[in-house]
Symmetry: C2
Subunit: 332 residues, 2 copies
């Protein structure tokens, strides 16, 4: 019985353009004391897991390898997807590649986590529940009525319901109720238990994923077999349907660093300088002055500059999508 | 009897930092169809004047020479000041260097002028008045109640009074009255008439300027003799005191391009692009996007970036002055 950290690495982080680009996704940016979120994930979980299994894709596996080498991590297994098939398939690939009794601790690779003691406490409890045969999700105590996350309604470690991203009014109700948690996208279960539930609840993903991983060569999946796999999330495919679900209500701090607002707040908390009106420069470039502006961020990269009002940080995605059509060389 | 364009070239244009710097003052920036304001001044007035006399200083005379060479102007005279002594002395140097009957058409070198027909009309009248022995100033019909200029109260071509930069309430009264004009800083008179009035009204400038120019070598003034000259403007020294004053009310458009707001408005009128929220990039640099900002200007230079709200364009001077103390290498 081994505990294996399954690191899912996908996505671009389009709201961090131009720092992030298709060729340099968010999790590979060395923004955090010189480390990337991917490295931090691997290093953080190495304390609790015997093995690392990276599920990446053909566009990023070289970045993952470089990151792990730089972090001094030599031993790891990798699965390289030919095309994105969402989290249900990604986790199935991992589960098929392990012993049924192995405990998979599945994490995204693009988060910062604070308070390691509370993190460890949550993991220890999750491992216990996984050993007992449960599918475990982590519920994060919300610090604000965020409308960007799904929520889990709990009663102790029982899950009463999963809730889609709410509107603000509902999010406030969730916070007031006190038993609603952010769905973190981290999971823990035995490989065999997960596959049993996947086969029972979403058999088409089970079968097509098995077919694809059975024909993988050195961990690399074929594109044609991969394209047959339904692209759905593990939440829809398994977690929201199974009666073997448990939640570990957790109090460690957690940020997906998904926007420049989150980056800004984190940097300020680390003592990174702003001017007296709260304007910040991120990236390399010449000396920069702001005048008549408040809480703006100038993101400077060799090919692109973005100047934004911090409060519009979510809309960077729209800029990214527009450039994807108009000027793809600036986002690739 | 010759008509001589006396071009005064001084100042930095600190409100255009970082485009302008001490080593690259405003009038030498090639921002206007590839030409500088200095070049435009010389080329514009060459149509009406037989000769050019540049009064510059040791910091900028090489820039003036380069500009004139690029503009194909080979024949000109120069006076090189050792230190700034304001406009009364600068014009006195020019007047001492010409025949008393020569008509001096004195202009700054950092303005854009529109509508050449109206400009020509004003000049022709000014030359007539100068020939009759008057000291002529040009009154520009104000397009807005600007508080950044001095005003001339006129009755026809008679000057009733000079007015300091007014507050807004008073500026609005001036506009409503209809006989108040912006003081353009352009003048026209016979060299001898000017010197007679200077000697009579402000003899200490007359004497010390004569002493300095008499000892100049190849148009270059000595610093020690120059420092003895009172540093006052031609308005204070002569124009506001003489009873031989006339004003030519003029309708040509005129802009000192003294701020990024003026530059922005001019560029927009020329079809220079902004994004849909009216944001503009000035200068060289990577592709730039604005998000959540309106009517902002990003000024990009190799060493410095300035991002400003267009409506705060006057405050660039404050940034310049702060950097003059904190980071002088960025403004020199």
């Amino acid at each position: 019985l081994k505990i294996i950290n399954v690191i899912l690495s996908g996505g671009v982080g389009s709201r961090l353009w131009p720092l992030s680009r298709k060729s340099k996704p968010k999790q590979y940016l060395p923004l955090f004391e010189g480390q990337t979120l991917f490295q931090k994930t691997a290093l953080r979980n190495r304390n609790f897991c015997e093995k690392i299994l990276v599920v990446g894709n053909i566009d990023n596996y070289n970045l993952s390898r470089k990151d792990l080498a730089q972090a001094g991590i030599k031993e790891y297994q990798e699965i390289i997807e030919a095309c994105p098939r969402n989290t249900a398939a990604a986790i199935a690939f991992a589960a098929f590649s392990c012993e049924p009794s192995d405990i998979l601790f599945v994490t995204p690779s693009d988060h910062l986590i604070g308070n390691q003691n509370l993190y460890q406490k949550a993991l220890i409890r999750a491992f216990e529940l996984a050993k007992e045969g449960y599918l475990v999700t982590f519920g994060l105590k919300p610090s604000r009525p965020d409308t960007g996350f799904g929520y889990i309604e709990s009663q102790g470690e029982q899950v009463k319901s999963f809730r889609e991203k709410p509107d603000l009014e509902r999010a406030i109700q969730f916070i007031d109720a006190g038993n609603f948690y952010w769905n973190s996208g981290m999971f823990c279960f035995q490989a065999g238990v997960f596959l049993e539930e996947l086969e029972k609840l979403t058999p088409e993903v089970y079968k097509s994923s098995k077919e694809a991983i059975d024909h993988a060569i050195d961990g690399k999946l074929h594109e044609s077999l991969s394209l047959r796999i339904p692209s759905i999330s593990v939440d829809y495919a398994v977690m929201e349907k199974t009666d073997r679900i448990r939640v570990v209500p957790s109090e460690f701090t957690w940020s997906d660093m998904g926007s420049f607002e989150a980056i800004y707040d984190h940097f300020v908390s680390e003592g990174y300088p702003t001017d007296e009106s709260g304007n910040m420069v991120i990236g390399e470039g010449p000396y920069t002055e702001f005048l008549g502006l408040k809480e703006c961020i100038l993101v400077n990269t060799p090919e692109c500059i973005l100047v934004l009002d911090k409060n519009k940080a979510q809309d960077v995605k729209k800029v990214f999508e527009r450039l994807e059509v108009d000027k793809p060389h600036l986002i690739n």
